[in-house]
């Protein structure tokens, strides 16, 4: 069964999926009246893949990459963000967010790293939307399916954007696709990290490697296997339980605010139109 789950994650024709994702970006932006996209470049594999796809979809003159390091961000992250922009030949900005973050936390010097990390993610979102407005562009998201499903993101921070070409790709599939489209190898190969504090890694924080996580997720989400079936497949009960718990407790992050119904039709419940209404 575990082999079946690995098999399930394999993308047979990467050129075709690349084409699907670029067509998606191009059509969704163009029909909404936009030519340009803004992407936050972290130097990681997700934002790098998103940038490669965006350039293919919109043309390099229509993609703006922004690196937004904090003073504790590693030099290698900054270098890799710049490398992606240079490789693609896109407009690039590096904006150090330390002054505004530090100014704010001078009021709360005891703030813990997670609180600070969330604030940084929201500051970056705010800059991306500022650039989007200034350039008549949309914000292209870089959240992959693994992190969306376990809620490994900051609500209204990195999870806030207009269109997301990666949201149906698990992390291990992002690696596959990134390597296929030509993201520099050192970016594809490095350990994934939110880089909110020195030495932080995703897998260390989640407590699980992405290969295991993705197999459990694809089993649960795509194949609709039950807890006991996943355990029977060979995963440890405590690992399965932890993953399923993360999925459940992060559902709020995948939803817009809930509204209390009192009338016949309610905006978030039975007022049902696609965003592409009229497009």
């Amino acid at each position: 069964m575990i082999e079946r789950l690995s098999e399930e994650l394999k993308i047979e024709d990467k050129a075709f999926i690349e084409e699907v994702l670029t067509r998606f970006l191009r059509e969704e932006l163009h029909k909404a009246g936009f030519k340009k996209g803004v992407i936050g470049l972290s130097g990681g594999v997700d934002s790098s893949l998103a940038a490669f796809l965006a350039v293919k979809a919109l043309g390099k003159e229509n993609v703006i990459g922004i690196s937004m390091p904090y003073k504790s961000s590693s030099q290698s992250s900054r270098d890799d963000a710049e490398l992606v922009a240079k490789t693609l030949g896109i407009e690039f900005h590096e904006i150090d967010i330390s002054p505004q973050i530090d100014a704010y936390y001078s009021l709360f010097p005891d703030a813990d790293p997670i609180r600070r990390g969330n604030k940084m993610a929201r500051e970056r979102m705010s800059i991306l939307y500022d650039f989007a407005h200034a350039n008549n562009a949309l914000v292209i998201g870089t959240s992959n399916k693994s992190e969306l499903l376990i809620g490994y993101s900051t609500r209204w921070g990195d999870s806030a954007h207009d269109v997301n070409p990666l949201g149906d790709l698990y992390k291990t599939q992002v690696w596959e696709m990134a390597s296929f489209v030509g993201v520099p190898e050192r970016i594809v190969k490095k350990k994934p990290s939110a880089d909110l504090w020195p030495g932080q890694t995703d897998e260390g924080e989640i407590g699980l490697d992405y290969h295991t996580l993705d197999k459990i997720l694809v089993g649960y989400v795509d194949l609709r296997l039950k807890r006991d079936e996943l355990i029977e497949a060979g995963f440890k009960p405590e690992v399965v339980d932890r993953v399923l718990k993360m999925v459940q407790t992060s559902q709020y992050k995948r939803k817009l605010p809930i509204i209390c119904k009192i009338a016949q039709r309610t905006v978030d419940k039975d007022f049902l139109y696609l965003r592409d209404w009229g497009l």
Binding site: E12, D13, V20, R23, F24, D276
Partner: protein, 282 residues
């Protein structure tokens, strides 16, 4: 004899723009010698309508259809739309328009209401599978999900259908095939299988374009009565396929494989009766 398969994108909820596009393409198909042109499911409205269903609905008499009605004096036209009945029930329908009038209406018989699909929430089920005469010959309209149930094909087959016309709006999913989505591969299997087993042409017209991240899988095609794919469109682009059809191949296929002759509908009916009675008795 020729059929045109119009693989198009649509504007969600903007009937006028879609009618204009379908009218233009109908006239182009006529110029290229087609007798009938087939547009995808809900080609006049877009697919994921949700509450727009009640705002875009038409009847066979709706003035919005006049450009197509006019064009139909030149060519038979299959279009998809939301139909509102006199009782204000809404259907996912396909109209066959010919000679200045709506000659046949098929209301989608099986409504997918699972996973990403929610049709049963918004529209009513059709209750008839009826063959009709198009400019091609005896035809049946079956919309998308209708064809994932073999009962519809069987009913069409028994009525002498020689042209299975399949308008569809199939959102792409599945990354296990090469050069197409997984569902597009299944559609090819369906077309090859049913055309061969019914000795009929199978004319599949699918959507392209994107609606809120649903990427329609295109890859429209025509299969001949021997199950051969004789024309196929791209997975992404708008295209007008013009395909030569040969009635003598239908005869040939049915002489070699006389499955229709050997059908036993009355016995099937008796079996159905027994099976249904047993199921209800449980």
């Amino acid at each position: 004899m020729k059929v045109a398969v119009a693989q198009i994108n649509t504007k969600l909820g903007v009937v006028e723009a879609n009618v204009e596009k379908c009218t233009e393409l109908s006239l182009r198909a006529k110029e290229e010698g087609a007798d009938v042109v087939v547009f995808p499911e809900l080609s006049l409205t877009g697919y994921n309508l949700q509450d727009l269903t009640f705002e875009v609905a038409l009847t066979p008499q709706s003035p919005e259809l006049i450009p197509l009605i006019e064009a139909s004096r030149e060519i038979g036209i299959v279009v998809g739309l939301i139909e509102e009945s006199p009782e204000h029930i809404f259907y996912n329908s396909a109209f066959y328009i010919e000679g200045g009038k709506v000659k046949h209406v098929h209301r989608k018989f099986y409504l997918p209401t699972y996973g990403m699909f929610d049709e049963g929430r918004f529209v009513g089920k059709g209750s008839k599978i009826e063959a009709f005469d198009s400019k091609l010959g005896k035809s049946a309209l079956l919309i998308c999900e209708d064809l994932w149930h073999f009962s519809t094909v069987y009913l069409a087959f028994l009525q002498g259908t020689k042209f299975i016309i399949a308008p569809s709006a199939s959102p792409g999913r599945g990354y296990k095939e090469r050069g197409m989505f997984g569902n597009a591969e299944v559609w090819l299997n369906i077309g090859e299988f049913y055309s061969r087993l019914t000795g009929s042409y199978f004319i599949y017209s699918n959507r392209v374009g994107v609606e809120d991240g649903f990427v329609f899988s295109g890859s429209s095609f025509v299969c001949d009565p021997y199950g051969r794919v004789v024309a196929k469109a791209s997975p992404f682009d708008e295209e007008l396929l013009i395909v030569e059809l040969s009635p003598s191949l239908i005869r040939s296929a049915r002489v070699n494989l006389p499955l229709l002759r050997d059908e036993r509908p009355l016995t099937i009916l008796k079996n159905l009766r027994r099976i249904v009675d047993d199921r209800e008795a449980e």
